[in-house]
């Protein structure tokens, strides 16, 4: 062969060889991040310098300077750490105020929108035909607003607003603090006849809003009709949906509706209808805490906003760009009155009406501003900084305490389905899937795997099982005798009875006295999706009155204690507060207080299922922690905000792993989110439950899951036991699908969700679909 051939062939062969060797990497698709992941932080944002023209300086506090523009009702906060300017409104001039023909005009702006864009407070009210209308503090002709200084203190101002059109007066106290702003709207300061028609108050609805569109002058037509969208600002809105979600600012071309997060869930007794129906859509995860935030740029500027009063009536709203407005904005909305369907006969005929008296409560809303990457104060201007700032606030106010960890290994949460009932020839029949003795066997078997830190919840131990068991006593049926349970509870594990004190049904008790009543006077009920009077024991459930729930919890806990239980596991009332409009009405705030008192009166360890923030004070273990969001289309990232807030104060356990949560990605997510594994198990096969209300526990048989429990626990324990008792100080996305969590003492856990080995800038290698603990 000639050398010329060699010259061609050898490089060709080399190229071919290289190509083949590289093929596996080329073929494997790059890791595609979805809205279930946290993506790389936004780009750096460029922002304009502060321009004090036309502003009145109010005060300086710490790194912040405060200014006010009387004509537009806009409060401006300059963060001197980074020069970023925050405004409570868009601070836009009205189009007719503009004289310079070169200045573009704001698109879609009329007098009302001009007021809404700028105002500090926006008020929603019901008009004479009960339609919701909006007006704002800066609405010329409709409202008069005046800023006053209180007691000569420049840091305490009060905006007195008179909404002349609807005859409503209210005052907003503004406290200018070193960390940011605090707004207070006191109940007694809302006056005037219009208060009975007050629907809701929005605070600073356009603070931090992004988007907008300008109209440029068109010489040809002689009009402002050349639309140009404002340049997109890199940044996001944080909302407490599920474990935490980010909505990055972007122009969706699909026509999306706004996000409404009802803090602490829906109070069914004051909802629109007294009959609720379970659908085939999974219920959305309502915020467990009254907090939201916004961040601009790559850890440049952010704020976190939270309510310390009025939180139970708070909604978190994110309104995307839509046909009405080109802005994306997020704000708190405090609800004062709602419409409900008032039924006046047995045919369910009725009409919509407002409650006679609006809700009475004080609103206190805090805004804390964050700047930079957190090197100086540990509070980065991103969702991690928001979480840490919020956690600090909760620690300060006693909602959270720092927990002392004693055990070296992480806990394993296991729930046993003991029994449930199904329809029988006469009445209902108990289906036993686990007896007390079998539970003991399983616990022993799990402990023999070397899992010593074990927490067990017993579901449906009573006669009648999960559906029929009475929430106020402990009367056992076919699952075992009292002495069997005494033996079980004496085992070396944290064993408790798990009971739902909220969702009740007619096989347990009479509904007339025990169920909460709707505003319309009817018993509130939930029609079950697959409930059928002929084949299932129940077709509807009701909601227990808060005072009843509290009484039952206390009684049953006493009975459990007498048997030797050291902890209780509470379901139902933890994630939902229900008011009652029976003979002696119990308002929502009072219902919350009743639940709190009931839990604080227990001198036992308390495990709660997805508790709302007002119960965290009493929580030792947080069960069924959300690991995802509700999948709103606007959401672009999922973040462990909730977990970061709770970490170090209680044990946080995840959803049941055996119900489709034990894939490789799920285990990595548990390690990433610092959440402990949990399982739901039966001794017998789960198909026995097919005709019961527990038919959605589709795979629970212990023998099937023994090896999976061992492997899932083994892996999560290996990673998470290292950081037990350490403070979670930061979380960073290094590349798509690669995350590092930083804990104090220099410990980091790298998690690699991708199918490729990852090498961090510091040289740390993380296996494909693996994790790596450094610094321990």
């Amino acid at each position: 062969m000639s050398s010329t051939w060699n010259k061609v062939l050898i490089p060709l062969a080399a190229v071919l060889l290289l190509f083949c060797a590289g093929l596996p990497f080329v073929v494997r698709a790059q890791y595609a991040s979805t809205a279930r992941d946290t993506k790389l932080p936004p780009e750096r944002a460029e922002y304009t310098a502060f321009d004090p023209e036309g502003l009145e300086k109010l005060a300086d506090a710490g790194p912040l300077s405060f200014y006010y523009r009387e004509s537009r009702n806009v409060l401006t906060v300059v963060d001197n750490r980074n020069g970023y300017t925050w405004k409570t409104g868009l601070d836009l001039p009205a189009n007719d105020e503009l004289t310079d023909p070169e200045t573009p005009r704001e698109d879609k702006m009329n007098a009302l929108y001009h007021a809404l864009y700028n105002s500090l407070v926006t008020v929603e009210y019901y008009d004479s035909s009960n339609n919701v209308k909006t007006t704002a503090s800066a609405a010329k002709g409709d409202a008069v607003a005046r800023l006053a200084t209180i007691d000569g203190d420049p840091a305490h101002r009060r905006l007195d607003v008179e909404f002349t059109k609807i005859n409503l007066q209210l005052s907003v106290h503004i406290y200018l603090t070193e960390t940011g702003l605090r707004f207070e709207i006191r109940d007694e300061e809302i006056t005037g006849e219009g208060q009975s028609r007050l629907a809701a108050i929005q605070i600073a609805p356009y603070m931090g809003a992004s988007g907008g569109q300008k109209l440029y002058y068109n010489a040809e037509t002689g009009a402002y009709d050349l639309p140009v969208h404002n340049p997109a600002v890199p940044g996001y809105i944080f909302i407490p949906d599920g474990c935490g979600a980010l909505m990055r600012f972007s122009a969706h071309t699909a026509n999306l509706r706004r996000y409404v997060g009802r803090v602490y869930g829906n109070d069914v007794a004051s909802g629109t209808y007294y009959i609720l129906r379970e659908g085939s859509a999974v219920p959305v995860k309502e915020p467990l805490m009254p907090v939201f935030g916004m961040a601009y740029g790559d850890r440049q500027a952010a704020f976190v906003g939270y309510a310390s009063s009025g939180d139970e009536y708070m909604e978190i709203i994110v309104s995307p760009e839509s046909g009405q407005s080109f802005y994306t904005n997020a704000y708190p909305r405090f609800v004062y009155n709602t419409q409900y369907y008032h039924v006046y006969n047995r045919q369910n005929d009725g009409y919509f009406k407002l409650t006679a008296d609006r809700r009475h409560y004080d609103v206190v809303m805090h805004y804390q501003f964050l700047a930079g990457d957190g090197q100086s104060d540990g509070l980065a201007a991103d969702y991690t900084g928001m979480a840490r700032a919020y956690r600090a606030y909760l620690l300060e106010t006693g909602v959270l305490q720092k927990a002392q960890t004693t055990a070296a290994s992480i806990p394993l949460q296991v729930d046993f389905v003991m029994a449930d009932s199904k329809k029988s020839i006469i009445g209902n029949q108990e289906v036993v899937t686990t007896t007390a003795a079998q539970a003991m066997d399983m616990i022993e078997s799990i402990q023999n795997m070397g899992i010593t830190h074990l927490s067990v919840g017993l579901m449906g131990a009573q006669s009648g099982g999960i559906t029929g068991g009475k929430p106020w006593q402990l009367g056992f049926g076919n699952t075992g005798s009292k002495s069997d349970y005494r033996k079980l509870l004496a085992m070396d594990a944290d064993i408790s009875f798990r009971q739902d004190y909220l969702n009740i049904n007619a096989t347990q008790m009479s509904m007339t006295d025990n169920s909460a009543r709707h505003l319309s006077g009817q018993l509130v009920r939930l029609m079950l999706d697959l409930g059928d009077e002929n084949t299932t024991p129940i077709s509807e459930t009701y909601y227990a009155r808060p005072d009843k729930s509290a009484g039952w919890l206390y009684k049953q806990a006493e009975a459990a204690k007498a048997l030797g239980a050291e902890s209780v596991t509470v379901d139902g009332i933890t994630g939902m507060a229900v008011s009652d409009y029976g003979r002696n009405p119990i308002r929502l705030s009072e219902a919350i207080r009743i639940y709190q008192e009931a839990l604080s009166s227990l001198d036992m360890k308390v495990n709660l299922s997805k508790p709302n923030q007002y119960l965290w004070q009493y929580t030792d273990r947080f069960l069924d922690t959300p690991m995802f969001t509700s999948s709103y289309i606007m959401e672009t990232d999922t973040v462990p905000f909730l977990q970061m807030v709770l970490n170090g104060s209680m044990e946080v356990c995840g959803p049941y792993a055996n119900l489709s949560f034990y894939t490789r990605a799920d285990i990595l997510r548990m390690i990433d989110y610092n959440v402990y594994p949990s399982f739901i198990l039966t001794y017998e096969p789960s198909y026995l439950l097919a005709a019961t209300q527990s038919s959605d526990f589709y795979s629970t048989e212990y023998s099937l899951y023994e090896p999976i429990i061992k492997s899932v626990y083994g892996e999560t324990n290996q990673a998470l036991s290292v950081v037990r008792g350490r403070e979670w100080i930061g979380r960073e996305v290094l590349a798509p699908g690669v995350v590092v969590n930083r804990y104090d003492g220099g410990v980091s856990i790298f998690i690699n969700y991708t199918g490729d080995v990852f090498t961090a800038p510091d040289g740390t290698e993380v296996a494909a679909e693996g994790y790596r603990v450094r610094g321990a």
Binding site: T253, N255, R277, D529, S631, Y632, Y656, D696
Partner: protein, 683 residues
């Protein structure tokens, strides 16, 4: 399936907000997955598909159809923007935009294996064929053949088989799917939906005059809403119309057509307004409906599961405002399209789904043992999967392991195949034990012959017969056994009874009790093959119904005959009734017992036996009453008819009373409350 549709319907009517507690919530699914559980009830199961990507940034406007091309790109009929897009899901970019001056409302889309793009445009009244570069190759306008007549031609969906024939769904065409040859020749209507008449319409057809009929709305067949051709050229279709319409749930709305256009799937469950259909390489069928429901069927049309939901007032991945089209990628990923919200939503199959499809595939290929193992894996993921229990049962059946097959068919509630397996098992047992059975029979015959020889003087026989008669000397027993006499010689026996010679009230009560017990045993105690689910039987209604009907009969007959010169008294009427129940009691008991050894093939024998027993008893009752009252045959029949009529009236009166009762009680309660409140001065 049906039940859920009704529930959905109610939810729509009341517009009630959907809430609930998601107990078994683990993944990021946004709608529940339903499947058939034991007892044919719908149950929630783990997610079959998880929502993956939501594509909102393609500036779509009212897109109507999506489909995958052979290049792996997703083709989108972006109807509102009058264009067709090719979108690369891997890179999340639009790779190709097809526009044409002719496009006015490009709604339907089909991409052939060689990359030709067919676009159905209803406003342009044409189907266009482009090559993969976007060059217009052919335009299919309204067929000119006489046979097409003046039928409308506004194509909005199109499919093309491997021979190049077009299958077109057009607005305003009720005759069926228009079939055109590749060069535009009208070949006829491929598949036709039949018209069906509901009860009222049938009545109208019967009684209305010609003028009235002319005024009625024309009863046209339901139109097709989509047509689809799989890679092998097999044609599928879905039919419009809501399943809530009167009787329309009995219309075949998901069809897989043979070459003659006939449906090969039969009637399979479907709900909602179906909009789209697609299949994958394995032949799994996916359909979608307007309100967001997605149903998945096996290639044979067996329902596997459904998921997807209507988004009430929020935009959540996997909830729809108007789900218009569904298609499936080669890797099993589903893509769907929301018309109103103009976005795409993809789903990835879960392990559960992959395993289920794998097991179905193995079974279809005849690999029974392998499929059983695959089904066992599905069972591990979901112990309630009826499909898996059925699959394992069938595999065992083919492997001739009948006992295991029985076990799984019973869990699955599959009575037909349980019976098949039982037949085999019984056959097996009979064959294996035939020798023993014959031996026993021979021995018995030998024994009797021997007895005959040794007991020539019949001393032993007499002794046995006499011993057997001893209980008869007890009058109660004699009165009880008298029932057999009644059955054989009703005239004599009832005459004896009337005269008070034979029969007694205690014995009659016992007979009545036995009748009740045999009835209850029949209703609740049959073998699995014949027994409807006990959970779904209202036992109280059975008991009350039994006593109410029999008691009412005796009572009414007494009233009717006492004013008609009947000689019987209430007591004797009851006794006559009780003594007539002998044959039916025996038939009921025999029926119940025999269900444990028969298969569905032999049910007709049992039914015949029960029918005979019931008729016999009825005859005895009629004759007995005739004898008792001293009536002629005619008078007796008349009095019986009046009795039945009277029973009807009493029932109606009682029903009205029961309906009013609720209100009477409420009225009393209201008055009581008022009194209580005013006395104690409460609010």
């Amino acid at each position: 399936m049906h039940k859920r549709s009704i529930l959905l319907f109610i939810a729509v009517l009341f517009g009630v907000m959907a809430v609930g507690s998601a107990r078994a919530e683990a993944g990021y699914y946004t709608s529940y997955t339903y499947t058939v559980g034991v007892n044919d009830s719908m149950i929630r199961t783990q997610s079959a598909y998880l929502p993956d990507k939501t594509i909102t940034d393609l500036s779509l406007n009212a897109p109507e159809e999506i489909t995958f091309g052979p290049d792996g790109f997703l083709y989108i009929a972006d109807t509102g923007n009058r264009r067709v897009l090719a979108y690369d899901p891997g890179r999340n970019t639009v790779v190709f935009e097809l526009t044409s001056e002719e496009f006015r409302s490009p709604r339907g889309l089909y991409v052939t294996l060689n990359g030709d793009i067919y676009v159905a445009d209803s406003q342009s009244a044409a189907v266009f064929r482009f090559d993969r570069e976007g060059t217009l190759l052919q335009t299919y306008r309204r067929p000119v053949e006489n046979s097409y007549g003046d039928t409308a031609y506004n194509p909005y969906r199109v499919a093309v088989d491997r021979g190049g024939s077009l299958y077109i769904v057009s607005e305003g065409v009720y005759n069926g799917i228009i079939q055109l040859s590749g060069n535009g020749e009208f070949l006829g209507y491929f598949a036709v939906n039949k018209t069906t008449l509901n009860f009222f319409q049938r009545m109208q057809q019967l009684f209305f005059t010609r003028e009235q009929k002319a005024n009625l709305q024309a009863n046209v067949p339901l139109t097709f809403s989509n047509v689809y051709a799989d890679k092998k050229g097999m044609i599928y279709s879905v039919t419009m119309g809501s399943s809530f319409g009167l009787g329309s749930q009995w219309i075949e709305r998901v069809k897989k057509h043979n070459t003659a256009g006939q449906n090969m799937l039969g009637l399979i469950p479907a709900a909602g307004e179906l909009t789209g259909i697609a299949t994958d390489a394995q032949g799994i069928i996916y359909t979608c409906d307007k309100r967001g429901g997605i149903i998945v069927y096996t290639p044979d049309g067996e329902y596997i599961f459904d998921f997807g939901a209507f988004g009430e007032d929020m935009d959540i991945a996997g909830l729809y405002t108007e789900l218009i089209s569904i298609t499936v990628a080669d890797d099993g990923t589903l893509w769907t399209c929301d018309n109103k919200k103009a976005y795409l939503q993809s789903y990835t199959p879960t392990e559960f789904t992959k395993n289920t499809f794998h097991a179905i595939d193995l079974f279809t290929q005849g690999q029974y043992t392998a499929s059983r193992e695959a089904w066992t894996e599905v069972l591990r993921l979901n112990q309630m999967s009826v499909l898996a229990h059925n699959g394992i049962g069938k595999a065992y059946l083919y492997e001739q392991d009948y006992e295991n097959a029985l076990l799984h068919f019973q869990v699955a509630g599959n009575r037909t195949q349980y019976s098949d397996a039982f037949w085999e098992l019984r056959n097996d047992i009979l064959q294996r034990n035939l020798t023993y059975v014959l031996l026993v029979v021979l021995l018995l015959i030998g024994f009797f012959y021997a007895l005959k020889i040794f007991d020539r003087k019949q001393r032993l026989r007499t002794a046995v017969v006499q011993a057997a008669r001893i209980p008869l000397s007890v009058s109660f027993v004699a009165n009880l056994v008298f029932v057999f006499h009644v059955a054989r010689h009703p005239f004599d026996a009832y005459d004896d009874m009337k005269r008070g010679h034979k029969g007694s009230l205690p014995a009659a009560i016992l007979l009545y009790g036995l009748f009740f017990l045999s009835f209850m045993a029949f209703m609740l105690g049959k073998a699995f093959i014949m027994q409807v689910n006990i959970e779904s039987i209202d036992t109280r209604a059975l008991v009350i119904g039994f006593f109410a009907i029999t008691g009412l009969f005796a009572f009414c007959n007494h009233l009717v005959t006492s004013i008609n010169d009947g000689e019987g008294r209430f007591k004797t009427i009851c006794m006559t009734f009780a003594y007539a129940t002998g044959p039916v009691t025996i038939a009921l008991l025999a029926y119940t017992g025999l269900t444990y050894v028969i298969t569905t093939n032999e049910i007709f024998l049992l039914n015949f036996m029960l029918g005979a027993g019931a008729t016999w008893s009825l005859l005895l009752l009629v004759l007995g009453l005739q004898e008792l009252h001293g009536y002629s045959f005619g008078t007796n029949m008349k009095s019986l008819l009046i009795t039945l009529f009277f029973m009807l009236i009493v029932t109606v009166v009682l029903l009205i009373l029961m309906l009013l009762w609720d209100q009477i009680i409420q009225f009393a309660q209201a008055v009581g409350k008022e009194l209580f409140a005013s006395v104690f001065n409460l609010e």
